[in-house]
Symmetry: C2
Subunit: 241 residues, 2 copies
Amino acid sequence: MPKSRYSDIYQDLKNKIETGEYEFQELLPSEHQLIEHYDCSRNTIRRAIGNLVTDGYVQTMQGKGVRNIYQPTQQNSFAIGNIESFRESALRNGKKPKTRVIYLTELVADKNIARRTGFEPGSNLYYLQRVHYLDNKALILNHNYFLKDLVPNLTKEIAESSIYDYIENTLNMSIITSKRVFTVEKMTEIDEKYLELGDYNCLAVVTSQTYNSDGIMFEYTQSRHRPDYFSFQDNATRRVR
Amino acid sequence: MPKSRYSDIYQDLKNKIETGEYEFQELLPSEHQLIEHYDCSRNTIRRAIGNLVTDGYVQTMQGKGVRNIYQPTQQNSFAIGNIESFRESALRNGKKPKTRVIYLTELVADKNIARRTGFEPGSNLYYLQRVHYLDNKALILNHNYFLKDLVPNLTKEIAESSIYDYIENTLNMSIITSKRVFTVEKMTEIDEKYLELGDYNCLAVVTSQTYNSDGIMFEYTQSRHRPDYFSFQDNATRRVR
DNA sequence: CAGAAAAACTTGTTTAAACAACTTGCGAAA
DNA sequence: TTTCGCAAGTTGTTTAAACAAGTTTTTCTG
């Protein structure tokens, strides 16, 4: 449920691109025409188009226009520049998600954990290991650390449905930013036990630190992905800066 | 050499964050104060801050302010959301880059190549294989395909210095957008021959399609990275949309 | 003193206008 | 006919203003 004008226009243009109303390589209507069509100001149009640019749907060219560069083949299970839970991502792609908790404990961050995760030494944490299944295939092994003060009363039941739903709708905490780093790492015994890795001896690893609206990091997660089912998309632009 | 006001302000604020003039978790001056300091309009300030947000330096909170969330440990060799050549990236990180061309040929795209790269079947292409060294370590094996019509007269010498420099400054073509996909793939014989992979049997692979200002894809590249030296950073935000 | 209401301050959205920079095409001049 | 220059159309940058929405502080009321 988008709430702003530019967000509505973004959605509408995105739909028209995805349904092929604008063809690949075709120029979109000019800002002037879009202003008339949507009956809004130029800034609002430009903001909608700016979001289409960052999401890789169009490219703007000064003096020329805005070109549709969307190709439907590039659909991908992982959203770019957007925080999304496993469940949300799966449902968006029409898959059947399932999550199993294989370990859940409370612990206090020692020096080692603190250095790895970025939490302060001495922090009270929940630590859990979860396996994510998509259409009954084990694809992801997650190591989650949550700050107990901010995410209290975490249970196995919550962890198997949706922690993000619990955080946002029950605890009413708002999630803002997440820093993610993508690497490739050797497999561990745990990986081997729970994921079917075949010949691969390494995994695609996404570590992320997530912050709430008070600027406090409340989550550190390492997501270890089965390589043959992992792909991550990005749209880059040439900036001089 | 930034040319716009918001870009100058972005740079200045970024410097102040990186040098610690604003501390981690500290709130930046309010928009009102920044307007007075830089003597500009609110929109210009907001644009500079918007870029800091997408680059992961700050997080904005309605009603509260703008918080510095930059941590110097996260420095990384690969730029986010920015097209950058290997040479540019290396120099920016103070490393000594070297590039060796191990294969260079012309070819015509058959059905197979066309499907993989996205070029039209029958396109005249340059195909080259290059190894990128950083401080004398072989880190990346590149497979590059360039559209011969748009990148003519490609030589070994150009390919060993900087193709992007040749494209932008000699051919005067402007590079706009690049779509990148990250995956993990099994190693091939060529990978094994030119990169020191140790125990790893797979690599971090970045495939990218790059477009010029006419919306034409002129480059398809597959970059195969030695896993232990690869890392890629991303900043995500929670969007409702 | 405690709590509620109001004020002040923050960022978020939208409109309007002007000028700059770049591209294309038309028409006039050579 | 060819070429140059200009006009028209496009996106890019910047300013100004108003209101909305969220947070914090102050003030007032009980």
